[in-house]
């Protein structure tokens, strides 16, 4: 009788404690959101008021209300959408080609050390080279259209994925390989069942970086020479002193980058569920 009521008492107290903790966490989340809104307001309100009071020159700095108006009309009328489409297409193509080639190169170089030794100096030089310097050359080779932007993106994404894949394979727990060898795995089986799945987490951290750099590369490419794309728009708005267009387009790019990132993180979480289990 007594132990049961004692246990029940403990359980009751625990349940109450859990409720209290939950309420505390919820309150904290709400506070964080409120404070974030306050920070945003602290940036936007003085800006807007400053412009209206004539203290800030809207020619250079635009104003929050002007940017909002720009975004509403452009996104509503559809004027900006063809540019969004071009930029997203270039970034995705560049990312895809660069990632596939980078992962393949990383795997091949790890499987064949001779290949790695021979290619090392060339790849090192290419990797330390500021890739943007290649942009004008890519325009010569691939034209002013999407090809040159994709090429620039590939030149960045390739190295990120290659180096991450190699790091993933190199940092693989030796114990896993020895255990599987002792269990009778052939070289091919070791590759498919241990090295490749073992390098997947590193590949994903490469991809998270890769999508962001891919977007960066195509925007820079568009700013240098292009007829379409958000980078071209940015260059145009800046040259014609249209601050609202400039900042509005930057916001659109930020949104695209955010979406890319969310997609990769979600795919990663799905594939890496074995790693996240201890957090459940």
């Amino acid at each position: 009788m007594t132990p049961t009521s004692y246990a029940e008492n403990v359980q009751f107290k625990l349940a109450r404690q859990v409720d209290v903790d939950k309420a505390k966490r919820r309150k904290r989340t709400i506070n964080v959101v409120i404070m974030r809104i306050l920070v945003l307001a602290a940036l936007l309100v003085p800006w807007q008021l400053g412009v209206e009071a004539g203290l800030i020159d809207p020619l250079f700095f635009s104003s929050p209300s002007a940017i909002l108006t720009f975004l509403v009309t452009e996104l509503g009328s559809g004027g900006v959408w063809p540019h969004v489409l071009v930029t997203v297409r270039e970034a995705l193509m560049g990312f895809l080609i660069g990632a596939v080639a980078g992962v393949a190169a990383g795997i091949l170089r790890m499987q064949f050390p001779l290949l790695a030794d021979v290619t090392n100096p060339f790849l090192t030089i290419l990797n330390v080279l500021p890739r943007v310097a290649l942009a004008p050359m890519f325009v010569l080779w691939f034209g002013i259209g999407e090809g040159s932007k994709i090429a620039l993106s590939v030149s960045l994404v390739f190295f990120i994925l290659m180096l991450n894949t190699e790091a993933g394979i190199k940092s693989l727990d030796r114990e896993l390989i020895i255990t599987q060898r002792a269990l009778g795995a052939t070289r091919t089986q070791l590759f498919w069942k241990v090295m490749l799945p073992g390098a997947v987490p590193a590949m994903f951290s490469g991809m998270r970086l890769g999508v962001v750099y891919s977007l960066l590369a195509v925007v820079v490419g568009e700013m240098i020479a292009s007829q379409m794309g958000l980078g071209q728009r940015i260059a145009f708005y800046a040259a014609s002193f249209q601050g609202d267009g400039l900042l509005g387009t930057i916001l659109i790019l930020a949104a695209i980058g955010l979406i890319f990132n969310v997609v990769v993180v979600n795919v990663e979480a799905k594939l890496m569920h074995w790693r996240l289990h201890d957090e459940d």
């Binding site: 114990e175 896993l176 020895i178 255990t179 599987q180 060898r181 002792a182 269990l183 009778g184 795995a185 052939t186 089986q189 069942k193 241990v194 799945p197 073992g198 997947v200 074995w274 790693r275 289990h277 201890d278």
Partner: protein, 277 residues
């Protein structure tokens, strides 16, 4: 003791018949190169054999080369001199019917427990349905039925080591090489797993070479214990453990015969270390 010549003939015959002939370590010496261009002798002329179905424990201080001997029998290391044969054949690469267990479980973290038990069978090309059936049975034997879908990160150390045992036994090995397989476990779990492993082994009687520095583990589990000296490893003493089976390492702890043999082995190991030191 058979003369070396005889042993070789027997071994060859068994090899030709395709049957297993335990493990034989013949005049094995091994050295590692050092950074300054010299070398360290880790094993000096070690010879012994493990007959079919025997449970041999090899004990010795760390650095006596006991793991190196295991790695040679596993086909992971080639001896600098001498030969190592398992089932009558020279070991040049991991053999398909030898199982190897380590102190660390080495489970693939991205595979569920069931898929980890299946992996050795996958390497051998066993069809999926058969593989699954055998893996489920092995998980059941090690007391983990119902945990097949769990990932290693969700399991306790003891459970992970159980999965590792199931994985090793799933390939139905004729020979088992074990490198302190219970060393990473807490005392209670260790005793429980030792007992469970013995229960399984006493049914199937694989040839076992078990390396440990835990003397209680060696004496309570093995048929025979070999004591190695410290670097370079040489055989210092050998004991037949004639305790009755089935044995339970937890129950046996206060048995008089067990304690006497444990004492003998302990003294032998102390002697071996003093001689080397």
């Amino acid at each position: 003791m058979t003369r070396p010549g005889e042993e070789e003939v027997v071994a060859n015959l068994a090899g030709q018949a395709g049957g297993a002939d335990g493990i034989s370590i013949e005049k094995v010496g091994h050295a590692f190169p050092t950074k300054d261009g010299g070398s360290i002798l880790v094993l000096g002329d070690v010879s012994f054999s493990v007959p079919n179905g025997q449970f041999l424990a090899v004990v010795g201080a760390s650095g006596c080369g006991k793991t190196t001997i295991l790695n040679m029998a596993a086909g992971l290391v080639r001896p600098v001199s001498g030969r190592v044969r398992v089932g009558g054949k020279d070991v040049v690469k991991p053999l398909r019917d030898t199982g190897y267990m380590f102190a660390r479980d080495g489970l693939l973290p991205w595979r569920s427990a069931l898929k980890n038990v299946e992996v050795g069978l996958e390497h051998r090309g066993v069809p999926k349905a058969e593989r699954r059936e055998r893996a489920l049975k092995m998980l059941d034997i090690v007391g983990l039925s119902g945990f097949g879908d769990s990932y290693p990160a969700q399991l306790s150390q003891g459970m992970r080591q159980r999965v590792a045992i199931a994985r090793t036994l799933a390939i139905n090995p004729a020979t088992l090489l074990m490198d302190e397989p219970f060393a990473a476990l807490d005392a209670q779990t260790k005793l429980a797993l030792q007992a469970e492993f013995l229960k399984i082994w006493e049914k199937d009687r694989q040839t076992v070479m078990f390396v440990t520095h835990d003397l209680a583990e060696a004496v309570s589990m093995a048929d025979r214990v070999i004591v190695l000296t410290s670097r370079p490893g040489r055989i210092h003493a050998e004991f037949e453990i004639d305790l009755p089976r089935p044995r339970d390492p937890a129950e046996i702890r206060f048995d008089e015969g067990y304690l006497r043999q444990l004492d003998q082995v302990w003294h032998a190991l102390k002697e071996a270390e003093e001689r080397a030191g």
